[in-house]
Protein backbone atom coordinates (compact mmCIF):
# COMPACT_ATOMS: atom_id res chain seq x y z
CA UNK A 1 0.00 0.00 0.00
CA UNK A 2 1.62 3.24 -1.05
CA UNK A 3 2.09 5.99 1.56
CA UNK A 4 4.21 8.79 0.03
CA UNK A 5 6.85 10.16 2.43
CA UNK A 6 6.37 13.81 1.46
CA UNK A 7 2.70 14.00 2.49
CA UNK A 8 0.98 14.39 5.86
CA UNK A 9 -2.01 12.33 6.97
CA UNK A 10 -5.08 12.34 9.20
CA UNK A 11 -6.67 9.59 11.25
CA UNK A 12 -9.65 9.89 8.91
CA UNK A 13 -7.44 8.72 6.02
CA UNK A 14 -7.00 12.01 4.19
CA UNK A 15 -3.64 13.16 2.93
CA UNK A 16 -2.48 16.79 3.02
CA UNK A 17 0.22 18.60 1.10
CA UNK A 18 1.08 22.07 2.45
CA UNK A 19 2.81 24.70 0.32
CA UNK A 20 2.76 28.51 0.55
CA UNK A 21 -0.23 28.58 2.91
CA UNK A 22 -2.34 26.33 0.66
CA UNK A 23 -3.26 22.79 1.67
CA UNK A 24 -4.07 20.24 -1.04
CA UNK A 25 -6.29 17.43 0.26
CA UNK A 26 -7.14 13.94 -0.97
CA UNK A 27 -7.96 10.51 0.43
CA UNK A 28 -5.30 7.85 0.90
CA UNK A 29 -4.85 4.71 -1.19
CA UNK A 30 -5.81 2.73 1.91
CA UNK A 31 -9.10 4.65 2.19
CA UNK A 32 -9.88 4.21 -1.50
CA UNK A 33 -9.10 0.52 -1.41
CA UNK A 34 -11.22 -0.01 1.70
CA UNK A 35 -14.18 1.69 0.01
CA UNK A 36 -13.89 -0.25 -3.23
CA UNK A 37 -14.49 1.40 -6.57
CA UNK A 38 -15.33 5.05 -5.94
CA UNK A 39 -18.33 6.09 -8.03
CA UNK A 40 -19.31 9.47 -6.57
CA UNK A 41 -17.53 12.37 -4.92
CA UNK A 42 -19.18 15.39 -3.36
CA UNK A 43 -16.82 18.28 -2.59
CA UNK A 44 -17.19 21.67 -0.91
CA UNK A 45 -17.64 24.63 -3.29
CA UNK A 46 -14.94 27.16 -4.03
CA UNK A 47 -15.34 29.99 -1.49
CA UNK A 48 -16.77 27.72 1.23
CA UNK A 49 -15.15 27.82 4.64
CA UNK A 50 -14.15 24.40 5.92
CA UNK A 51 -13.18 23.55 9.49
CA UNK A 52 -10.55 21.07 10.58
CA UNK A 53 -12.14 17.82 11.78
CA UNK A 54 -15.56 18.61 10.35
CA UNK A 55 -17.25 16.96 7.40
CA UNK A 56 -17.12 18.80 4.09
CA UNK A 57 -18.18 16.19 1.56
CA UNK A 58 -18.78 12.53 0.76
CA UNK A 59 -17.05 9.73 -1.07
CA UNK A 60 -19.22 6.84 -2.25
CA UNK A 61 -18.44 3.44 -3.66
CA UNK A 62 -21.02 1.00 -4.95
CA UNK A 63 -21.01 -0.66 -1.54
CA UNK A 64 -20.64 2.15 0.95
CA UNK A 65 -20.46 5.84 1.66
CA UNK A 66 -17.81 7.65 3.66
CA UNK A 67 -17.73 11.21 4.90
CA UNK A 68 -14.93 13.47 3.88
CA UNK A 69 -13.36 15.42 6.75
CA UNK A 70 -11.39 18.59 6.20
CA UNK A 71 -7.95 18.28 7.76
CA UNK A 72 -7.54 22.09 7.89
CA UNK A 73 -9.52 25.26 8.55
CA UNK A 74 -9.77 27.92 5.86
CA UNK A 75 -11.32 28.93 2.58
CA UNK A 76 -11.63 26.53 -0.33
CA UNK A 77 -9.74 27.99 -3.28
CA UNK A 78 -10.01 25.19 -5.80
CA UNK A 79 -11.76 21.83 -6.27
CA UNK A 80 -10.76 19.00 -8.60
CA UNK A 81 -13.66 18.85 -11.08
CA UNK A 82 -11.80 16.18 -12.98
CA UNK A 83 -12.01 13.87 -9.95
CA UNK A 84 -15.74 14.64 -9.63
CA UNK A 85 -16.24 13.66 -13.27
CA UNK A 86 -13.90 10.67 -13.04
CA UNK A 87 -14.17 9.34 -9.48
CA UNK A 88 -12.17 6.24 -10.44
CA UNK A 89 -9.11 8.51 -10.16
CA UNK A 90 -9.43 8.19 -6.38
CA UNK A 91 -8.63 4.49 -6.79
CA UNK A 92 -6.13 4.67 -9.63
CA UNK A 93 -4.15 7.79 -8.68
CA UNK A 94 -5.19 8.96 -5.19
CA UNK A 95 -2.09 11.06 -4.44
CA UNK A 96 -1.81 12.93 -7.73
CA UNK A 97 -4.62 13.43 -10.27
CA UNK A 98 -7.09 12.13 -7.66
CA UNK A 99 -6.58 15.11 -5.33
CA UNK A 100 -9.87 16.63 -4.11
CA UNK A 101 -9.69 20.27 -2.95
CA UNK A 102 -7.35 23.10 -1.94
CA UNK A 103 -7.74 25.31 1.14
CA UNK A 104 -6.00 28.60 2.02
CA UNK A 105 -5.07 28.21 5.65
CA UNK A 106 -3.00 30.06 8.29
CA UNK A 107 -3.14 27.40 10.95
CA UNK A 108 -0.99 24.31 10.49
CA UNK A 109 -2.89 21.48 12.14
CA UNK A 110 -1.39 18.51 13.88
CA UNK A 111 -0.98 15.76 11.29
CA UNK A 112 0.61 12.33 11.05
CA UNK A 113 3.75 11.69 9.05
CA UNK A 114 3.98 8.70 6.70
CA UNK A 115 5.50 6.45 9.37
CA UNK A 116 2.79 7.27 11.91
CA UNK A 117 0.06 6.80 9.30
CA UNK A 118 1.52 3.44 8.26
CA UNK A 119 1.39 2.39 11.91
CA UNK A 120 -2.23 3.57 12.14
CA UNK A 121 -3.47 1.53 9.20
CA UNK A 122 -1.49 -1.46 10.42
CA UNK A 123 -3.80 -1.52 13.44
CA UNK A 124 -6.96 -1.47 11.30
Amino acid sequence: MSIPEHLSYTKEHEWVSLADGVATVGITAFAAESLGDVVFVQLPAVGDTVTAGETCGEVESTKSVSELYSPVTGEVTEVNESAVDNPEKLNSDPYDTGWLFRVRTDAVPELLDATAYAALIQED
Binding site: E33, G36, V39, F40, S61, T62, K63, V65, E88
Partner: protein, 360 residues
Protein backbone atom coordinates in the same frame (compact mmCIF):
# COMPACT_ATOMS: atom_id res chain seq x y z
CA UNK B 1 -15.57 -20.15 8.61
CA UNK B 2 -13.63 -20.54 5.40
CA UNK B 3 -14.68 -22.16 2.14
CA UNK B 4 -12.63 -24.92 0.43
CA UNK B 5 -11.46 -22.21 -2.01
CA UNK B 6 -10.08 -19.80 0.60
CA UNK B 7 -6.44 -20.37 -0.34
CA UNK B 8 -7.27 -19.93 -4.03
CA UNK B 9 -8.81 -16.53 -3.24
CA UNK B 10 -5.79 -15.52 -1.18
CA UNK B 11 -3.57 -16.42 -4.10
CA UNK B 12 -5.70 -14.19 -6.33
CA UNK B 13 -5.23 -11.25 -3.95
CA UNK B 14 -8.89 -11.06 -2.92
CA UNK B 15 -10.19 -8.62 -0.32
CA UNK B 16 -12.30 -10.49 2.20
CA UNK B 17 -15.40 -9.63 4.17
CA UNK B 18 -17.37 -11.42 6.84
CA UNK B 19 -20.69 -12.66 5.50
CA UNK B 20 -22.93 -14.63 7.88
CA UNK B 21 -19.87 -15.91 9.71
CA UNK B 22 -18.00 -16.81 6.52
CA UNK B 23 -14.81 -15.17 5.32
CA UNK B 24 -15.76 -14.47 1.71
CA UNK B 25 -14.09 -12.64 -1.19
CA UNK B 26 -15.74 -9.22 -1.53
CA UNK B 27 -13.68 -8.30 -4.61
CA UNK B 28 -10.51 -9.46 -6.32
CA UNK B 29 -9.53 -6.20 -8.00
CA UNK B 30 -12.37 -3.90 -8.98
CA UNK B 31 -16.01 -4.76 -8.31
CA UNK B 32 -17.05 -2.60 -11.28
CA UNK B 33 -14.79 -4.59 -13.60
CA UNK B 34 -16.17 -7.82 -12.13
CA UNK B 35 -19.74 -6.57 -12.56
CA UNK B 36 -19.04 -5.66 -16.18
CA UNK B 37 -17.39 -9.03 -16.83
CA UNK B 38 -20.58 -10.82 -15.74
CA UNK B 39 -22.76 -8.59 -17.94
CA UNK B 40 -20.48 -8.79 -21.00
CA UNK B 41 -18.39 -11.98 -20.65
CA UNK B 42 -18.45 -14.11 -17.51
CA UNK B 43 -17.67 -14.10 -13.80
CA UNK B 44 -16.56 -16.95 -11.54
CA UNK B 45 -18.03 -17.00 -8.02
CA UNK B 46 -17.36 -19.06 -4.92
CA UNK B 47 -20.73 -19.57 -3.22
CA UNK B 48 -19.65 -22.40 -0.96
CA UNK B 49 -21.06 -20.56 2.04
CA UNK B 50 -24.57 -21.47 0.89
CA UNK B 51 -26.24 -24.40 2.64
CA UNK B 52 -27.07 -27.67 0.84
CA UNK B 53 -29.62 -29.95 2.47
CA UNK B 54 -30.69 -33.26 0.98
CA UNK B 55 -34.20 -34.61 1.51
CA UNK B 56 -34.69 -38.23 0.48
CA UNK B 57 -37.15 -41.04 0.90
CA UNK B 58 -40.54 -42.29 -0.32
CA UNK B 59 -42.29 -39.24 1.17
CA UNK B 60 -39.63 -36.64 0.38
CA UNK B 61 -42.03 -34.81 -1.95
CA UNK B 62 -44.84 -34.81 0.63
CA UNK B 63 -42.48 -33.61 3.35
CA UNK B 64 -41.37 -30.66 1.21
CA UNK B 65 -44.94 -29.83 0.20
CA UNK B 66 -45.69 -29.52 3.92
CA UNK B 67 -42.47 -27.77 4.91
CA UNK B 68 -42.28 -25.19 2.09
CA UNK B 69 -44.83 -22.91 0.40
CA UNK B 70 -44.24 -24.35 -3.08
CA UNK B 71 -45.59 -27.50 -4.68
CA UNK B 72 -42.37 -29.45 -4.85
CA UNK B 73 -44.20 -32.70 -5.64
CA UNK B 74 -45.05 -31.17 -9.02
CA UNK B 75 -41.42 -30.54 -9.99
CA UNK B 76 -40.14 -32.91 -12.67
CA UNK B 77 -36.94 -34.76 -11.77
CA UNK B 78 -34.07 -32.79 -13.27
CA UNK B 79 -35.77 -29.43 -12.76
CA UNK B 80 -35.41 -26.77 -10.05
CA UNK B 81 -37.82 -24.38 -8.39
CA UNK B 82 -37.44 -21.05 -6.59
CA UNK B 83 -39.46 -21.31 -3.39
CA UNK B 84 -39.62 -20.23 0.24
CA UNK B 85 -39.88 -21.60 3.73
CA UNK B 86 -42.32 -19.62 5.89
CA UNK B 87 -42.97 -19.58 9.62
CA UNK B 88 -46.48 -20.30 10.97
CA UNK B 89 -47.18 -16.53 10.88
CA UNK B 90 -46.47 -16.41 7.15
CA UNK B 91 -43.12 -14.60 7.46
CA UNK B 92 -40.21 -15.80 5.36
CA UNK B 93 -37.66 -18.08 7.07
CA UNK B 94 -35.60 -18.22 3.88
CA UNK B 95 -35.86 -18.14 0.11
CA UNK B 96 -34.60 -21.32 -1.47
CA UNK B 97 -33.74 -23.08 -4.69
CA UNK B 98 -34.87 -26.70 -4.62
CA UNK B 99 -33.60 -29.23 -7.17
CA UNK B 100 -35.48 -32.46 -7.70
CA UNK B 101 -32.62 -34.84 -8.41
CA UNK B 102 -34.80 -37.99 -8.60
CA UNK B 103 -38.32 -39.04 -7.65
CA UNK B 104 -37.33 -39.51 -4.04
CA UNK B 105 -34.37 -37.13 -3.80
CA UNK B 106 -34.28 -33.34 -3.49
CA UNK B 107 -31.52 -30.84 -2.82
CA UNK B 108 -32.57 -27.71 -0.90
CA UNK B 109 -30.18 -24.76 -1.23
CA UNK B 110 -30.42 -22.17 1.55
CA UNK B 111 -28.77 -18.82 2.19
CA UNK B 112 -25.63 -19.03 4.32
CA UNK B 113 -27.06 -17.10 7.25
CA UNK B 114 -30.29 -19.11 7.30
CA UNK B 115 -28.90 -22.56 6.56
CA UNK B 116 -28.85 -23.72 10.23
CA UNK B 117 -32.46 -22.56 10.73
CA UNK B 118 -33.61 -24.18 7.49
CA UNK B 119 -31.90 -27.45 8.41
CA UNK B 120 -33.50 -27.46 11.87
CA UNK B 121 -36.96 -26.59 10.54
CA UNK B 122 -36.80 -29.12 7.70
CA UNK B 123 -35.74 -31.84 10.12
CA UNK B 124 -38.64 -31.03 12.43
CA UNK B 125 -41.23 -30.56 9.69
CA UNK B 126 -40.23 -33.81 7.95
CA UNK B 127 -40.30 -35.85 11.17
CA UNK B 128 -43.78 -37.31 10.62
CA UNK B 129 -43.00 -38.29 7.00
CA UNK B 130 -41.04 -41.22 5.63
CA UNK B 131 -38.19 -38.94 4.62
CA UNK B 132 -34.63 -38.21 5.73
CA UNK B 133 -33.04 -34.78 6.00
CA UNK B 134 -29.24 -34.57 5.74
CA UNK B 135 -26.90 -31.60 5.81
CA UNK B 136 -24.53 -31.79 2.82
CA UNK B 137 -23.04 -28.32 3.32
CA UNK B 138 -19.73 -29.34 4.94
CA UNK B 139 -18.71 -31.55 2.02
CA UNK B 140 -20.22 -29.47 -0.80
CA UNK B 141 -18.61 -26.54 -2.59
CA UNK B 142 -20.67 -24.32 -4.89
CA UNK B 143 -19.02 -22.58 -7.83
CA UNK B 144 -21.02 -20.34 -10.19
CA UNK B 145 -20.15 -19.25 -13.72
CA UNK B 146 -22.41 -16.39 -14.75
CA UNK B 147 -22.58 -14.30 -17.90
CA UNK B 148 -23.17 -14.52 -21.65
CA UNK B 149 -19.98 -16.55 -22.18
CA UNK B 150 -20.78 -19.02 -19.40
CA UNK B 151 -22.24 -21.74 -21.66
CA UNK B 152 -19.09 -21.82 -23.79
CA UNK B 153 -16.84 -21.90 -20.74
CA UNK B 154 -18.77 -24.59 -18.89
CA UNK B 155 -19.20 -26.51 -22.15
CA UNK B 156 -15.43 -26.65 -22.53
CA UNK B 157 -14.89 -28.42 -19.20
CA UNK B 158 -18.10 -30.33 -18.49
CA UNK B 159 -19.20 -33.55 -20.11
CA UNK B 160 -22.88 -32.71 -20.35
CA UNK B 161 -25.46 -31.73 -22.94
CA UNK B 162 -25.72 -28.01 -22.18
CA UNK B 163 -28.10 -27.30 -25.04
CA UNK B 164 -30.60 -29.63 -23.39
CA UNK B 165 -30.08 -28.06 -19.95
CA UNK B 166 -32.83 -25.49 -19.58
CA UNK B 167 -32.98 -22.53 -17.20
CA UNK B 168 -33.82 -23.84 -13.72
CA UNK B 169 -32.72 -27.38 -14.51
CA UNK B 170 -29.93 -29.52 -13.06
CA UNK B 171 -28.12 -32.58 -14.36
CA UNK B 172 -25.30 -34.86 -13.27
CA UNK B 173 -22.16 -33.95 -15.22
CA UNK B 174 -18.47 -34.78 -15.20
CA UNK B 175 -15.79 -32.13 -14.75
CA UNK B 176 -12.13 -33.18 -14.60
CA UNK B 177 -13.19 -36.78 -14.06
CA UNK B 178 -15.34 -35.80 -11.09
CA UNK B 179 -19.10 -36.27 -11.01
CA UNK B 180 -20.87 -33.05 -10.05
CA UNK B 181 -24.36 -31.54 -10.13
CA UNK B 182 -24.51 -28.96 -12.90
CA UNK B 183 -27.43 -26.52 -12.72
CA UNK B 184 -28.51 -23.66 -14.97
CA UNK B 185 -29.39 -21.24 -12.19
CA UNK B 186 -28.02 -18.02 -10.79
CA UNK B 187 -28.50 -14.71 -9.07
CA UNK B 188 -27.17 -12.19 -11.57
CA UNK B 189 -29.81 -11.75 -14.27
CA UNK B 190 -27.57 -13.44 -16.83
CA UNK B 191 -27.43 -16.91 -18.29
CA UNK B 192 -25.28 -18.96 -15.96
CA UNK B 193 -24.44 -22.18 -14.24
CA UNK B 194 -23.96 -23.38 -10.70
CA UNK B 195 -21.70 -26.35 -10.04
CA UNK B 196 -22.17 -28.38 -6.86
CA UNK B 197 -18.81 -30.02 -6.32
CA UNK B 198 -17.30 -32.26 -3.61
CA UNK B 199 -15.42 -29.83 -1.35
CA UNK B 200 -11.99 -31.42 -1.84
CA UNK B 201 -12.28 -31.10 -5.63
CA UNK B 202 -13.30 -27.44 -5.64
CA UNK B 203 -9.81 -25.97 -6.28
CA UNK B 204 -9.36 -28.25 -9.30
CA UNK B 205 -12.77 -27.37 -10.78
CA UNK B 206 -12.08 -23.66 -10.16
CA UNK B 207 -8.73 -23.99 -11.96
CA UNK B 208 -10.29 -25.75 -14.96
CA UNK B 209 -12.99 -23.09 -15.27
CA UNK B 210 -10.43 -20.30 -14.92
CA UNK B 211 -8.36 -21.74 -17.75
CA UNK B 212 -11.37 -22.35 -19.99
CA UNK B 213 -12.61 -18.85 -19.24
CA UNK B 214 -9.42 -16.95 -19.94
CA UNK B 215 -9.99 -16.51 -23.71
CA UNK B 216 -13.56 -15.36 -22.98
CA UNK B 217 -12.65 -12.65 -20.47
CA UNK B 218 -13.85 -14.53 -17.38
CA UNK B 219 -12.92 -12.83 -14.10
CA UNK B 220 -13.14 -14.14 -10.56
CA UNK B 221 -15.99 -12.16 -9.00
CA UNK B 222 -16.74 -11.32 -5.37
CA UNK B 223 -19.77 -10.60 -3.24
CA UNK B 224 -19.68 -6.85 -3.94
CA UNK B 225 -20.58 -7.30 -7.60
CA UNK B 226 -22.93 -10.17 -6.80
CA UNK B 227 -25.00 -7.68 -4.81
CA UNK B 228 -25.14 -5.01 -7.54
CA UNK B 229 -25.87 -7.67 -10.18
CA UNK B 230 -28.82 -9.14 -8.28
CA UNK B 231 -30.12 -5.66 -7.46
CA UNK B 232 -30.14 -4.67 -11.14
CA UNK B 233 -31.96 -7.93 -11.86
CA UNK B 234 -34.58 -7.05 -9.19
CA UNK B 235 -33.82 -10.17 -7.16
CA UNK B 236 -34.48 -10.06 -3.41
CA UNK B 237 -31.76 -10.57 -0.80
CA UNK B 238 -32.77 -12.15 2.49
CA UNK B 239 -32.20 -9.65 5.30
CA UNK B 240 -32.89 -6.74 2.93
CA UNK B 241 -36.07 -7.44 0.94
CA UNK B 242 -37.09 -10.61 2.81
CA UNK B 243 -37.46 -11.23 6.54
CA UNK B 244 -39.27 -13.31 9.15
CA UNK B 245 -41.74 -10.43 9.57
CA UNK B 246 -42.59 -9.91 5.90
CA UNK B 247 -44.68 -12.28 3.81
CA UNK B 248 -43.90 -13.37 0.24
CA UNK B 249 -46.88 -11.26 -0.88
CA UNK B 250 -45.29 -8.04 0.37
CA UNK B 251 -42.20 -8.87 -1.71
CA UNK B 252 -44.42 -9.37 -4.79
CA UNK B 253 -43.51 -13.04 -4.68
CA UNK B 254 -46.95 -14.36 -3.76
CA UNK B 255 -46.78 -16.55 -6.85
CA UNK B 256 -44.43 -18.93 -5.00
CA UNK B 257 -47.20 -19.74 -2.47
CA UNK B 258 -49.21 -22.65 -3.85
CA UNK B 259 -52.56 -22.75 -2.06
CA UNK B 260 -53.83 -25.32 -4.57
CA UNK B 261 -51.58 -28.13 -3.34
CA UNK B 262 -53.20 -30.93 -1.34
CA UNK B 263 -52.86 -31.00 2.43
CA UNK B 264 -51.72 -28.41 4.89
CA UNK B 265 -48.40 -26.61 4.83
CA UNK B 266 -46.64 -24.50 7.42
CA UNK B 267 -47.96 -20.95 7.19
CA UNK B 268 -50.99 -21.71 5.00
CA UNK B 269 -53.68 -20.17 7.23
CA UNK B 270 -51.64 -17.07 8.02
CA UNK B 271 -50.56 -16.55 4.42
CA UNK B 272 -54.15 -16.77 3.24
CA UNK B 273 -54.86 -13.63 5.32
CA UNK B 274 -51.77 -11.76 4.18
CA UNK B 275 -52.48 -11.57 0.45
CA UNK B 276 -53.04 -7.80 0.53
CA UNK B 277 -50.13 -6.27 2.46
CA UNK B 278 -50.12 -2.61 3.47
CA UNK B 279 -46.66 -2.06 2.05
CA UNK B 280 -45.23 -3.67 -1.06
CA UNK B 281 -41.81 -3.89 -2.65
CA UNK B 282 -41.13 -1.51 -5.53
CA UNK B 283 -38.24 -0.41 -7.70
CA UNK B 284 -37.05 3.19 -7.46
CA UNK B 285 -35.02 5.10 -10.01
CA UNK B 286 -33.10 8.15 -8.84
CA UNK B 287 -31.68 11.15 -10.60
CA UNK B 288 -28.05 12.27 -10.32
CA UNK B 289 -25.54 9.90 -8.80
CA UNK B 290 -26.35 9.72 -5.08
CA UNK B 291 -27.77 6.31 -4.22
CA UNK B 292 -30.42 5.65 -1.59
CA UNK B 293 -29.26 2.83 0.64
CA UNK B 294 -30.63 0.19 3.00
CA UNK B 295 -32.67 1.79 5.78
CA UNK B 296 -33.15 5.23 4.22
CA UNK B 297 -36.65 6.71 4.43
CA UNK B 298 -38.89 7.07 1.38
CA UNK B 299 -40.99 10.23 1.47
CA UNK B 300 -43.98 11.73 -0.23
CA UNK B 301 -43.69 15.43 0.38
CA UNK B 302 -42.34 15.41 3.92
CA UNK B 303 -44.30 12.34 4.99
CA UNK B 304 -42.46 9.04 5.43
CA UNK B 305 -44.22 6.43 3.27
CA UNK B 306 -41.65 3.65 3.14
CA UNK B 307 -38.11 2.44 3.53
CA UNK B 308 -35.29 1.51 1.17
CA UNK B 309 -34.13 -2.11 1.42
CA UNK B 310 -31.23 -2.07 -1.08
CA UNK B 311 -29.72 0.61 -3.27
CA UNK B 312 -26.68 1.45 -5.37
CA UNK B 313 -25.52 3.50 -8.29
CA UNK B 314 -26.24 0.93 -11.00
CA UNK B 315 -22.96 0.05 -12.73
CA UNK B 316 -24.76 -1.07 -15.89
CA UNK B 317 -27.37 1.69 -16.12
CA UNK B 318 -25.39 4.61 -14.70
CA UNK B 319 -28.16 5.97 -12.48
CA UNK B 320 -29.14 5.22 -8.87
CA UNK B 321 -31.52 2.30 -8.35
CA UNK B 322 -33.12 0.98 -5.19
CA UNK B 323 -35.74 -1.40 -3.93
CA UNK B 324 -38.05 -0.17 -1.19
CA UNK B 325 -41.20 -1.02 0.69
CA UNK B 326 -43.84 1.68 0.18
CA UNK B 327 -47.53 2.10 0.93
CA UNK B 328 -49.50 0.06 -1.58
CA UNK B 329 -51.31 3.03 -3.12
CA UNK B 330 -47.92 4.54 -4.03
CA UNK B 331 -46.58 1.42 -5.76
CA UNK B 332 -47.72 2.33 -9.28
CA UNK B 333 -44.84 2.90 -11.76
CA UNK B 334 -44.50 6.60 -12.47
CA UNK B 335 -45.30 7.64 -8.90
CA UNK B 336 -42.95 10.42 -7.86
CA UNK B 337 -41.47 10.10 -4.38
CA UNK B 338 -38.28 11.17 -2.62
CA UNK B 339 -35.56 9.40 -0.70
CA UNK B 340 -33.94 10.93 2.37
CA UNK B 341 -30.27 10.52 1.46
CA UNK B 342 -28.42 11.58 4.60
CA UNK B 343 -30.62 14.61 5.17
CA UNK B 344 -31.14 15.67 1.58
CA UNK B 345 -34.36 14.77 -0.19
CA UNK B 346 -33.57 13.39 -3.62
CA UNK B 347 -36.37 12.73 -6.13
CA UNK B 348 -37.06 9.10 -7.04
CA UNK B 349 -39.61 7.54 -9.35
CA UNK B 350 -41.33 4.19 -8.91
CA UNK B 351 -40.37 1.92 -11.82
CA UNK B 352 -41.21 -1.65 -12.77
CA UNK B 353 -38.77 -4.38 -11.76
CA UNK B 354 -36.34 -5.64 -12.90
CA UNK B 355 -34.16 -2.61 -13.62
CA UNK B 356 -32.07 -4.66 -16.01
CA UNK B 357 -33.08 -7.53 -18.26
CA UNK B 358 -30.69 -9.36 -20.55
CA UNK B 359 -31.44 -9.56 -24.24
CA UNK B 360 -32.13 -13.12 -25.26
Amino acid sequence: MKTPLHEVHEGLGASFTDFAGWTMPVRYSSELAEHRAVREAAGLFDLSHMGEIEVTGPQAADALDYALVGKLSAVTPGRARYTMMCNPEGGVVDDLVVYRLADERYLVVANAGNAPAVLAELTERAASFDAQVADRSPDTALIAVQGPASAEIVGAVAEADLAALKYYAGTPATVGGQEILLARTGYTGEDGFELYVPAERAPEVWRLLTEAGRPHGLLPAGLACRDTLRLEAGMPLYGNELSAELSPFAANLGRVVKFDKPGDFVGRAALDKRRDPERVLVGLRGAGRRAARHGYAVLRGDQPVGEVTSGALSPTLGYPIAMAYVARDLAEPGTELAADIRGRHEPVEVVALPFYQRRS
